[in-house]
Subunit: 150 residues, 12 copies
């Protein structure tokens, strides 16, 4: 049976590729999703991508993932740094979670260096651009056992 | 005339009973609402329960309470700790407000020990589980004069 | 068998009703005790009230409660914010503890917003005036099983 | 061609004139909008006013302004102090932004003295009441060149 | 009768136009004064401009304004961030005060983000360049009633 | 009628004159009391001196002063820096209070520079040695009107 | 031989009696000086009063006192909290220094609770109004031996 | 001549052996005293054990030790972290002081990691259980010269 | 030509697999190196693994990498949090650097949440166990262009 | 069988006896080792002393102790306060560890009051000079059962 | 052509040699100036020395240096730590600036360890006494090219 | 007899001239050493230069300097900010120490603005590039009396 990974993207990530490209690169969210869909197949996974600017909707989606998905990749954008509500929703799930950021948050404003998502996620990949999502998929495939360790 | 108390519940409280029961207990929000409805009758009060994961919707509801309800019980979940918008809405009401929390927030993460709601509420009941809502109702009944002090 | 709740009151609570009534209201400690005695009967509980201005005596009483009482209600007044000795005594008991404050400590001086008692108590009721003691009694009755949940 | 300024108002600003008038004055948002519409004409500008209690909707509107408006006036209310998501959206625009507040935020609670909007806005006008919006319009007219400096 | 606004400028503002123009723009203090004189006439106000590098002289001038002027515009330059003496002088006046800064102080060094002047001024205009002085004049005209609201 | 000033001395002040004389000088508490008794007569005051090492007893004495004395001089020793209970008792009195310290607490350990007593006292005299008590008496005589201003 | 005490008053103290009388009382600096002159005679002291709004002038005067006066009373007003230059000048003198404040600085804004003058003065008298200056004179008379201890 | 060591135990140490044994072990204070009495003999020392829950009594006992005992061992329990009064009493003695704690306070709550006793004691032994008292005795025997160094 | 990636491991990583396996898992550094060697071949890379407990040796190796290697993977263990010397060496290289941690450092002691390496590295992978090294290799392969993006 | 205790000494402890003797006393490390060797025999223990100025070497030695020694005494000198690498090595051992310091670190510079070693050691002995090592040996003998409790 | 270096000395430096000689040494400002004049000749420089206790005058002189001098040596005394106005004036110059202090400010009170001058100066020489001025002259001579590097 | 100055250089200073030349300039350590050797001769001094990346080796060398050299110049690179071990070694010497930095550390990252070396050094020269070493030599020559003051 195929496991499905829900990939959640937070506020302003719909602007990826056009917004501050010197920080976030020129890949769009669509390009990244396409690369993930391709990679997922080889890993025995299905992938579903979503984006919202609304904190409450992110919380709703995480609650949905508790019962309907097998793993989560979360790039919560700015809510990473401010949303305890998102943290609570993540803590209420029992599925594996990996946090992804396009840029290296440890090199940015001090208020961007703290992550509530990190308190609930197994691991973090940041600063590697769009490919970070693909690497997270591979890590989840190992974690879910859909591929064997090399 | 019957006074109506609006009981607002914030993010993830719809998961009550299933999420981290060692912290939040096994009562669901439905069980709590039922107990409150029963208790309210004896206190000369009507009760209306709502829950949302969305900060803006909580603000809308508090604004609605300014004119259409006689008192508020607020368990804002994670927004307790982060929402100045909710605080402003509460400050704009003139009706009595009691803050309720299922768990004792003073024993949890440091960021959960600070409450914006407390700056606007008359009092707080926390750590007593679902029965805290009922006790808040009784306190409001005294406050609104729908029952006489024993 | 009747369970007995020991209700401990800390420094200056003997002045209740005469001291800063705009903060603490006009109920005296005697009034509150009388209301609690009445309420306790309906809840299947006995109640004993004490007050002291002396930190060491509070510690002595809590140690006494470990073996001779079934539950504690603690309004430690100013020692709430400064007494690690009291906290240690409370941590050494295995009976249920509820913390009560007449005023909402979260709205007062910053040094009054921190409570050592909260680190040992199951829950807190504050800002509801003298009725907070009665509500604490009801919560303890549920906790001790002397009444059935409504 | 007429440049259009989008004026965004955050949570609880719909209550302006009725809420805490000793802080916020008695002008309603409608009164302010009317004065701005009138002033804008003399400045060669069009104006569009919006208000929402929802952080995500504010972010959506700022994203819309990137391409469809020539300037932004932002009174983000309480989100001023908490919304990194709003800051990110503002940083992603290239149009001039002026931050407005009815009250002087530097004289209020410490948590109201910090502004995420300020990190993206060219300037701030605060504490001058509803007329602050009009003055912001004039500053934008100079900035956009729709009027000549006197 | 014409009301007179005293416009006080603190240290280094005599260098305006030549010092760090990427921060402070190319307007000189003379240019700004000329624009203000012109604008003041239309607003029914008289204007007097002064500049000093000396904290004590600023204090003297503010004391003079208590009795001899009808309003104050204060751009205290660096003394904004360090002078409690200036704050005390401003608190001792009963006339309206508006604080002006050429640059947006909220985007600069942390020690430039705190303002003692703000504790005494009704409002602040910053980051709008020299035109900020003119806008402050208009706000004062409304405040003093020398013009009618549009 | 003679007004009586209660002079309260906290922990370790019974050692005055023998303990760390380079900080506290060589006057004993008895010497100071004798000088005060003499001075009081000329000021139309009676004086009563007490000393205790016990925080709770200090609180008891302050409560007693509420009704039975006309003014308080308080040198609370180490409880100055730690006793919120003492502060609460002082806040509950309506009589004039002056805080006295033998040494200049502003030049000592950081934890000795903060005073809870100062939050309730009208004024403080410190660093002047035993004569500080006498000066406090004179200030109280003016305050109570037992002598006329020179 | 008569010892002379130099009494230095800092910024805005020339407004005493007219500025914020609810904080600073209604005595003017002239009234206080007159009372001091009268008291000084009985104490075997001469007194010279000065006031300036200028930090540098205060420093000059303290330097002058090193060689030409026998003691200093310093009420540095707002420079109390900000002037390291004044502290350095005081540290360079070997004559006794007493710090005086009209109001109790420990009950005011946090930035008014720290005093650089305290690091150099033997003692402080605050919160007792104008009479504080007189009491400081008496303490200096004892210190300089111009009167004998009573 | 035999030197006598006074061993002072603070609040809740009377519960040793029954209270939180996973932290404090199962030795009672009586067991520890017995072992110390035995050890003391071999070291040429006498030992006297006391325990109190009262801060003021601890201060009294330390004052007594100044003149009547040759050394102090102090386990002040919770007052370790909060009692400046105890510190002052200890500073007023000239006899050697060793601080003992049953548990390693450096691994516990942050507020338990700070010790006022340490500011007056020559050394500290902690985390070694009841045997820490015996080791402190031996160190004092060396310090007082009742035994020769091995 | 094959690019060579130098993989540097800091203190205690030689204990991997035997030390605190509930935090660090059961993979040894040898197992991880073997997996990396295998993966590297498919990516067109060579890999060299080193480990040391010595901060200075880590600095030497990074200096060596400046000229002799094409990329760096750094798991500096505890030196991550304390070594500015390592940071300086990394800043002096111009080759791509990825930081790897076995555990999620954002969920550990506060002093482990700060990383000096992050100030110089392009990105971080943490909390994914040994596979994090492999994913870092793939990211470097993309970065160095030894494989084409899928 | 004899258990062997490894005694590790960090940087500058080779200077003991010559360096700042007013802080560290006049015992050399050789004297202390000799006393320990003698004491160890009576306790059924063997002892091995080492000293290094190199943090990495300390880490190597602790790793060696994991398998080859039965207990550790650690006086890490300045690395006590800075070395997370040493802490990690200590955490990776399962043998008893006692921390020793010649001086009372709680009375020294603030940066010397924090100890990473304390997070891994069972207990600490400090401020007792060289005899602290001997007392640690005795505590370990009890802990390892090579002697019976007296 | 000879370049001229303006040497500015802040408050209390006129007391050099007489004030706290254990900190500041026994050289007077005149001695230092004489040595500098002599040294300057050999370096192809002219030197002008000034001293003031007035912050505003320091600002005036720095503004003068912008156009009339080729380099600045600044020992701002206490204004080093408090004067943002001085910093702004220095930032407005384009000539080389070297900061000099007689004592090592890094070893003094915490408030003396922070320097606003350092934010504008190329370098700092401190703790070397009066000779620091001469060394600064030599550094400026290299910087201005009036002598060739040896 | 010729005095010898040991010049110690910490981590990464071997890269001087090639690493971040916009911060550190283009001089290599060899160039600086050559200039120092030349200058030393004229000053009656000998000079020995060393560099290491290893903290422990720096400590060893400082210990060596205690007995075998007459003065120290220390540029500890990154260990300046982190090494208490180095500080302890410096404190254990009785010879004059001058701290040198190529760049102005007061203008760099906050963690680079704190120096442990400064707590032991007589003075600091920073921000003047390689010539700072030469100026330190001259200061030491004065200090050691190998040249006479000009």
């Amino acid at each position: 049976m195929t496991a499905t990974v829900l990939v959640l993207n937070g506020p302003n990530l719909n602007l990826l590729g056009t917004r501050e490209p010197e920080i976030y690169g020129s890949d769009t969210l669509e390009t990244i999703e396409a690369a993930c869909q391709k990679r997922a197949k080889g890993l025995g996974l299905a992938v579903e991508f979503r984006q919202t600017n609304n904190e409450g909707e992110l919380v709703d989606w995480v609650q949905e993932a508790r019962t309907d998905y097998q793993a989560l990749i979360v790039n919560a954008g700015a809510y990473t740094h401010t949303s305890v509500a998102l943290l609570d929703a993540l803590l209420a799930t029992n599925i594996p979670i990996i946090e992804v950021h396009i840029s290296n948050i440890h090199q940015r404003d001090e208020f961007r260096q703290q992550s509530y998502v990190s308190k609930a996620a197994e691991g973090m990949i940041c600063g590697l651009g769009g490919i970070g999502y693909e690497l997270a998929l591979e890590a989840l495939a190992h974690r879910l056992g859909t591929i064997k360790e090399a």
